[in-house]
Symmetry: C2
Subunit: 221 residues, 2 copies
DNA sequence: GAATAAAAATGAACAATGTTCAAAATAAAG
DNA sequence: CTTTATTTTGAACATTGTTCATTTTTATTC
């Protein structure tokens, strides 16, 4: 049993403080978004909430967008946890898909603004979001792929990945438009049962022999 | 004494000019959004493109959001036209639904920014969008309801309306996430066939006797 | 047609907000 | 404790939506 001496600086006060500040800023931004939505976010407010000067924000993040990115990263992490927990509560692949969809609806309903920020946030101009953050969105796929593989045993990995994205996108669309008021919304109390019914229909479609998955080559995407 | 102004303005030059300016502003804003997206819209640019002073914009619209609203109104109108045309090109309700979905994908692909503005635009604070504009979104439903009624003959009008919204939302989600880069996207050339397959599966689900539409009371929404 | 009144167009000024930077404060090293 | 390096600070800057006093245009009256 040896101790590795990682101690170069005895205190390491600088990095420690910076990390504390980073967390405080992400937390403050998260609270603001939760309360007021992405549109209600102000650099000055975040700094005040986090107890630092306006300029300090820019010593930790290059701009507000990067800060929002980290808030979204946290949200995806939380979402991943509840989705995986939901998947574990049932057994059959059918039930898992239904449970995942309803858990997604539940999370979106109970965390409206912070969830909406995941999809409302737009990177300003040229370069898109960093690779690591794009990859984080895959937590939304992971839970879906496993039950899907059991329902569609003839698909290879790439084909499964595509089907998972399509199914997630459909569910996301229903939840998104269901909660947003673009249309006369589906009554909130019906949304859950409609979503369940929708998933069941898709599953029936998967199992229909007259409607097998096309054998399109998806290898080289 | 009071004079009643029984004026019949012979020329009506004022309203005419105002209408011309209104059109010019909407057109200019539309072009900017098409090229640069909602985020690239600047009041000063719009005014310059429309050939008026910055302040004139605010004599026609109360703010930029109202102008965007009118751009979106135009977009919905165009979308409605192509969707109805697409529906008329085929016969069976199955084919109509497939055609509508693919037409929607096509429109979104070919008019990315102006289409995205329909859903990206957020009204700033309290009061939501005006009633007349919310109602315009129903053009997206109209084409769907007719074939759906033939596939689901037991549903009443309200239930059909709900199913149409659910189906549209699912398609919209697939198109939206398919075109956006949140995830490693489904390859664009596969999106159309995936969408077609998806619609066919849903239709199979509709027709499955083991999965009838729940008899939830949807009357009082 | 000229004079007058009403309305609209104008663009400078204002306010809000993201970002930068020279100066002050703080931490690390000697 | 002194010196040096780094960080924090908040005033200043740049951009952008919106307003408003002034100017210009349009309509009405004689």
């Amino acid at each position: 049993m040896f101790k590795i001496k990682v101690v170069k600086t005895v205190t390491g006060k600088r990095e420690e403080k910076k990390e504390v500040l980073r967390q405080a800023l992400v937390k403050a931004a998260g609270h603001r978004i939760s309360k007021l939505g992405l549109g209600g976010l102000r650099a000055r407010d975040i700094a005040k909430d986090a107890g630092c000067a306006l300029g300090s924000l820019y010593t930790v993040f290059t701009d507000i967008d990067e800060l929002i990115l980290h808030v979204n990263s946290n949200t995806l992490s939380k979402l991943g946890v509840v989705m995986e927990a939901a998947a574990r509560r049932v057994d059959s692949p059918q039930d898992v898909l239904v449970a995942l969809a309803n858990e997604y609806l539940k999370f979106a309903t109970e965390n409206r603004n912070i969830w909406a920020a995941l999809f409302d946030h737009r990177i300003p101009e040229g370069a898109g979001e960093p690779e690591w953050h794009v990859a984080e969105h895959l937590v939304l796929m992971r839970g879906i792929t496993i039950p899907l593989a059991r329902l569609l045993p003839t698909l290879n990995e790439n084909q499964l990945a595509v089907q998972a994205r399509i199914l997630f996108a459909a569910v996301h669309g229903i939840v998104s438009i269901g909660l947003h008021g673009h249309f006369v919304a589906v009554p909130r109390r019906d949304l859950e049962s409609q979503l369940t019914q929708f998933i069941k229909r898709i599953i029936v479609g998967y199992q229909s022999s007259s409607n097998k998955v096309d054998n399109i080559d998806l290898e080289n995407e």
